[in-house]
Amino acid sequence: MDVAQPKEFLLSIEGLTVSFDGFKAVNDLSLYVEENEIRVIIGPNGAGKTTVLDLICGRTRATEGSIQFRGTELTNLREHEIVHAGVGRKFQNPSIYEDLTVFENLELSFPRGRSVLGALTFRRDAEVINRVEEIAEMIFLKDHLDTDAAILSHGQKQWLEIGMLLIQSPELLMLDEPVAGMSVSERIKTAELLNTIIKKHSVIVIEHDMKFVEDIAHRVTVLHQGKVLSEGSMDRVKNDPKVIEVYLGH
Amino acid sequence: MRQNMTSPFSITRRALLAGMAVLPAFGFATSPLQAQEVATAVANTTGLAVTDDTVKVGILHSITGTMAISETGSVEAEKLAIEQINASGGVLGRKIEFIQEDGGSDWPTFAEKAKKLLVEDKTAAIFGCWTSASRKAVLPVFEQYNGMLYYPTFYEGLEESPNVIYTGQEATQQIIAGIDWVVREKGAKSFYLLGSDYIWPRTANKIARKHIEKLGLKVSGEEYYPLGHTQFNSVINKIKLKKPDVIYAIVVGGSNVAFYKQLKAAGIDMSKEKPLLLTISVTEDEVLGIGGENIAGAYASMKYFESLPNDNNKAFVSSFKGMWGDDSVIGDVTQAAYLGPWLWKAAVEKAGSFDIDKIREASPGIELTTAPEGYVRIHENHHLWSRTRIGHARTDGQFDVIYETEDLIEPNPFPEGYQ
C-alpha cells in the first residue's frame, strides 16, 4: 500500500486508552485504516482486540484518545449515531434475531424508518424487498428467506449477521471472528464473500485463523496487552521477532 | 323461647342454651309478633327473600386478605347472634338463613358482593364491613338498592346514612370521655398524638387535639406512619425528648405489634405511667398479636371489654366461647357486631315488617337491654347511645374496667367545633 496522508484515512485512532478499574485494556493505541482496505487484527487472548472494536462502535467509552471517522469524532457519539455515520459491527457470537425470519432480520437492518414514527409507518415496498433479496443472494441465504433464523446453521447465522451489516451499506465493517465455528467449505465461501464486500467497503476483521487471515488480509495489526506490537503485511508481521515471541511462536 | 328448637342438642347447642338461659325479653313494650300474625305479603312488600318460614340475610366480611385478621371476630359474633335468634324463635317467627360473602380485603369486591347480596339474593339485611374504606365502597350500593347495613366498627364519624346502622362508636363518643378521664384522674397536661396514616386515626386525633386544646392543655406532637410500618424507634426518641404525660396512640394492624414491643424495649414501662399510654385502637383481639406482657399497664378507651362483669356479658362470653372455643377473645368490635342481628330483629318486630323503609322508621328509639355492653339505644342519626369505659391492660391480655361514664353518651357524627 502506498503511504497516504492522514486526512485521507477512513478511520484514524490516536492515543486511545481505556481503563477498567486501573487495568488498561487498551493503552495509548493508534491505528489508521484506509478506504477499501481489509485490516486484520490479531493477538493473543486478552490483547484488547474486541475492546478496540467496542470502543470504535461506542459500546465501550474511551478513557482517553480520539477516534476519527471521515473527520467525525466518534468518541462522543452514541451507538446508533455511529451506525448512522457509517460504521457496522458484527459480534463474536452470531447476534441475530432468532425469533424472526431471515427476511425480517434483514428488513430490520434496512436503513430506513429508524425512528419510532418511522418504524410505525414503515412499509415493505419493492425497494426493501429487492434489497433484501439482493443481500440474501450475496450471503447464500436466498432460499431461506422465510426460515426462522433460530434454525439456521452456525455458519449461516454468521453470514446472516454479515448480511445485516451489508444492508446498512456501511463504509466500514467490523467483523469479530467471522469464521469461528465454520466448516472448511463455509470458510472458503466466507472469504469469497469478504472479497466481494471490500469492493465497496473497508473492513476490520479480528481473526485467529491464520490460514484465513493470509487469504484475506491487506494489512495485519498485532495487538499485545492493549498496544500495537507490530503492523504491516502478513509476511512482515509473520517474521517480526516480537510477534513470534508473544503469539505465533507458541 | 325454646319452643322452636327441634334439632338434637349438640355441644354447641348446649353451650348456646347455657348462654340463652339468661336472655331476658326485649326492652320495648309491644310483645314480639309471630309469623302467623304477620303474613308474608304484609311483612315483605318489596320482594325481599322472605318466606313464611325463613328470611335471608347477608354477612359480608373479609375471610381472606390482610383484613381477615380483624374481621373474623365480627363474623363469629354475627353467626352466634343469628343462631341464638333462631333458637329463640327467629324474627317475626321466621328463621334467619345467612349467606356469607368474602370481601377479600378488597373494596370493589365488597361493593360487588354487597350488590350481589342485595340484587341477586334479595337479603333483608346485611351485617358487615369493617374498614371505613369498605363501608365507603358499599355505601352507594346500599343507597341505590335501598338495603340496610349493620356496621360494627368504631370509626371516624362524618357520616350518617339512612341505609346504615352504626353499632360501634363514632369518634367523639370514644375519644372525649377517655381524654376527660385521663385529665381528671391522672392530671395529664400534655399529649403526644400518634397514629397509622389513614382517615380514622387522623380524624380521631383531630378531635382529640381540639378537645385537648379546649381544655387548655398541650399537644406536644402529632404524627402518622404508613400502614404496616414496623420501625418506631425515632418516634419513641421524640417522645422521650418531649416528655408528654400521655402517649395517645391510634396505631393499627401489624404496626401495633411493632410499636408496643419497641416501646417496651426502649424502657418505657407503661405501668410507671411516665408517660401514660392511652389508646383507642387496641382491643382484646389486637392484644393477641402484641402479647399481653408488652402492653400491660396501658389504658384503652372504648365501649366494651370482655371482662365487663354484668350478667348480659357473662352469658354472652360463655356462649361465644362455647361456640368458637375457649381460646377465642372478644373485642369491642366483636361485641358491636353481635348487636347487629339483635337490633335488626328488634326493628323488624317493632315495625311488623321486613321492608327497609319501615325498619328505618322503626329503628330510632329501639333499645336493647340485653346487650353485653349493658344498654344501648338507637339514636335518630342511626348511631348508638352508649357508655365509654376505660380498661387497664393486664398481662394476660384482658383489661380491668376501671371506669365507665355515668350516662349514655350521645352519638354525634358531625361534632360542631371538632371539625
Binding site: R59 | G228, Q231, S234, G254, V257, L288, G291
Partner: protein, 308 residues
C-alpha cells in the same frame, strides 16, 4: 439550651437517635443479606423472601410455646434454639423450592419473579391455614425485652443490641462462607462461569441449591430476630419486600459490601428524616431519594467496572 431542651437532653437524644439508626441499619442488613446472596449471586428474584422470614418467625413462635410448655426452666434461652430451628426450616424449604422450581428458571430472571410470587401466595395461605389468620404473639424472655439505662434519658434496648450483635455475627459468617470456604469458592466460580465450573468438577447443581438454601436460611434467622420488634402474621412478610429489594438494588447487586453500605445509607437517611419530619413523609422521601439516585446511577452504589 437548644430550643426547649437542655444541652444534656439534646446530646442524649442524639445518642439515642444514633443508636436507633444503627438498629435500623442492622435490621436492614439482616433483611437484605439473604436476598443479596440469592439475587446478587444467582440472579434469582425471590419475591417469597418475606415469607421465608415469616417462616422463621413462626418457628420461633412454636419454639416459645414448646419451651414454655415442656421446658420452662430453659425458657430464658429458648431464643437461641429458635434461631437454629428457624434457619434449618427456611434452609430446607429454600432447597426444596430451588429443586422444585428455581432450577428450571436460571435463564429467565423475570420468570423467577413471577414463580416466587406464586410461592409467596401459597406460603401465606399455608400459614393462614396452619396458624390462623390472626397475628400470633411470640412471648420473649424478659431479659430480651429489657433495656440498660445509661443515664436518665439514654436507655439502650437490649433487643437492639441483640439484633446488632446477630447481624454482625451473620455478616462475618457470610463473609467467611463466601470468601474463605470451599463452598464459597465454588459458588463464586459458578457465578462467574457456570460451564467452566462444571467442567472442573464442581457440582453446580448442589452449589445452586445450597446457595439458595443459605439465602433463605438467613431470611429465616432474620424473621426469628424480628419477632422482637415486629409482628408475626401470614401477610407480615409482604411488608418487607419492597424495602429489601431496594436495599439490594441500591447497593449494587452482586456486592456484599454494597448491600451493607446501602443498608447503612438508607437507614441513616430514614432515621434522620423521621426525626425531623412525620413518619409517612419520611418514608416517601427516603424511597424517592433512593429511586432518584437509582435513576441517576442505575448500577447502584458499588459495582466493579468490568469488561463486557
Amino acid at each position: 439550651m437548644i430550643g426547649d431542651y437542655t444541652y444534656t437532653e439534646f446530646t442524649s437524644i442524639l445518642a439515642m437517635q444514633g443508636f436507633s439508626g444503627l438498629t435500623l441499619f442492622s435490621v436492614f442488613v439482616l433483611m437484605a443479606l439473604g436476598l443479596a446472596i440469592i439475587f446478587g449471586q444467582m440472579g434469582v428474584i425471590n419475591m417469597a423472601h418475606g415469607e421465608f422470614m415469616i417462616l422463621g418467625a413462626y418457628m420461633t413462635y412454636l419454639c416459645s410455646h414448646f419451651f414454655s410448655e415442656y421446658l420452662p426452666s430453659l425458657f430464658s434461652i429458648y431464643f437461641f434454639f429458635a434461631m437454629i430451628l428457624a434457619f434449618a426450616a427456611s434452609f430446607l424449604l429454600g432447597m426444596l423450592v430451588e429443586w422444585g422450581l428455581i432450577r428450571f428458571l436460571y435463564r429467565r430472571p423475570l420468570d423467577t419473579l413471577l414463580a416466587t410470587w406464586g410461592v409467596s401466595l401459597i406460603l401465606q395461605q399455608v400459614y393462614r391455614s396452619v396458624f390462623g389468620a390472626r397475628e400470633v404473639g411470640v412471648t420473649l424472655p424478659d431479659w430480651l425485652m429489657g433495656s440498660i439505662a445509661l443515664t436518665d434519658i439514654i436507655e439502650i434496648p437490649i433487643n437492639g443490641l441483640f439484633v446488632m450483635g446477630l447481624t454482625f455475627l451473620i455478616t462475618i459468617g457470610v463473609y467467611l462462607a463466601m470468601f474463605r470456604s470451599k463452598w464459597g469458592k465454588s459458588m463464586r466460580a459458578v457465578v462467574q462461569n457456570r460451564t467452566m465450573a462444571g467442567a472442573v468438577g464442581i457440582n453446580t447443581k448442589m452449589v445452586d441449591r445450597l446457595t439458595f438454601g443459605l439465602g433463605c436460611g438467613i431470611a429465616g434467622i432474620a424473621g426469628s430476630a424480628f419477632t422482637m420488634i415486629g409482628s408475626t402474621g401470614p401477610t407480615a412478610g409482604q411488608l418487607y419486600i419492597v424495602d429489601t429489594f431496594l436495599i439490594v438494588v441500591f447497593g449494587g447487586a452482586g456486592s456484599l459490601i454494597g448491600t451493607i453500605a446501602s443498608a447503612f445509607t438508607i437507614s441513616q437517611a430514614q432515621s434522620t428524616i423521621e426525626f425531623f419530619l412525620s413518619g409517612s413523609m419520611a418514608k416517601v422521601l427516603t424511597l424517592l431519594t433512593v429511586v432518584g439516585i437509582l435513576m441517576l446511577r442505575p448500577q447502584g452504589l458499588f459495582t466493579l467496572k468490568i469488561r463486557r
